[in-house]
Amino acid sequence: MNKKTYQTNRLLLYPLLQVITLSGIIFLMLLTPTDVHAHKMTLDCRFEGSHLHGEVFYSHNNPARHCSVKCYSLNSNALLASGTTSDEGTFSLQLEHKVPLKVIADDGQGHRASWIWNGNDDANDRTENPKSNVSMEKIPAGLAVIIFSFGIIRFIRKHYHES
């Protein structure tokens, strides 16, 4: 094989390799089921009679499946009820007494969310991680702060070296 043919083959090989790899990635995306979710976990609850119904989800409203859910008394910290979320990320706990409580959801992978009810039906229920998607406007702001931070590092280093 002469040098020109070898280079031509190399030039053809790289795009081919990249197309095969991209196809592999797309194939994995389409076919592989997984429970990995990103970032923030959110918990939302509501009372219906003596039952506490709730929903646990990640960013982009993906349901948090099979998470541990525990309900504690806000005053005594005693465990009132516990359960796990369904495939849809929902749960239902039966409570003997409607007392101020804190609900904690944990997926066992480092994500945790909590919900507190202070006993006031009107205004005191609080989702610590309110339901929201990523605010895209904050991304350019974050990038600007990163550039600014490295500018500060550069400034301090220059000042340090001069003095």
């Binding site: 923030k40 992978q109 990038l143």
Partner: protein, 198 residues
């Protein structure tokens, strides 16, 4: 890979901050003016990559790219990843301020490992760049999963149970991160190979 607030005990949180502070300190000493712009760009890339959600079956994952960051940033990966994680915690409540040190350590140490193990292979090219990139991306997420399991074990989770869950759910991410890192490195190797040398 972002551990939430309230999951880990104080000892783990302090240890995470101490270990990451060492990494940041060494990184700052090695951050030359030439590397500053590159580190800033990699920090930005890491910050943005976490928002790129890839649908996999019914769920989605986000890229980590710590192997890629490590290969290009070297010891300054702690700075690049630390600043990006801090902003993610402040702006989007991903992870948290108390868990920042642990999260930084979990992601940046494998990035450093990637630099120490795979960067010499890029310089001498005993392996194809694509393969080196894939192994770097795959092993970095793999190591992050191990560190995450250890961290959660300190919180009382059974290590075996936690690690099984984490590994089972992160295998697709390891493969995808490996492939994306491989493609990115192959592209850089074709168009600007000098970026791959430290």
């Amino acid at each position: 890979m972002h551990i939430s607030e309230g999951v880990l005990p104080p000892v783990t949180l302090v240890t995470g901050y101490a270990a990451s502070a060492i990494g940041i300190g060494i990184g700052l000493r090695r951050l030359t003016d030439e590397k500053l712009v590159r580190t800033a760009l990699l920090s930005s890339a890491f910050f943005v990559a976490s928002f790129i959600h890839i649908p996999i079956g019914p769920a989605n994952v986000h890229l980590v790219l710590n192997g890629f960051i490590g290969l290009l940033a070297g010891w300054t990966c702690f700075i690049a990843i630390g600043i990006a994680l801090l902003l993610q915690a402040l702006l989007f409540q991903f992870g948290g301020i108390t868990t920042l040190g642990v999260n930084m350590f979990i992601i940046a140490l494998p990035a450093l490992f990637s630099f120490l193990i795979f960067s010499p292979l890029l310089d001498r090219k005993p392996f194809p760049v694509f393969l080196t990139g894939f192994l770097s991306g795959f092993s970095s997420v793999f190591l992050s999963a191990i560190l995450l399991s250890f961290s959660l074990a300190t919180a009382g989770s059974a290590f075996f149970t936690a690690s099984t869950l984490i590994f089972a759910s992160n295998v697709p991410l390891m493969i995808i991160d490996g492939l994306v890192t491989a493609l990115a490195l192959q592209f850089i190797s074709n168009v600007k190979p000098e970026l791959l040398t430290q």
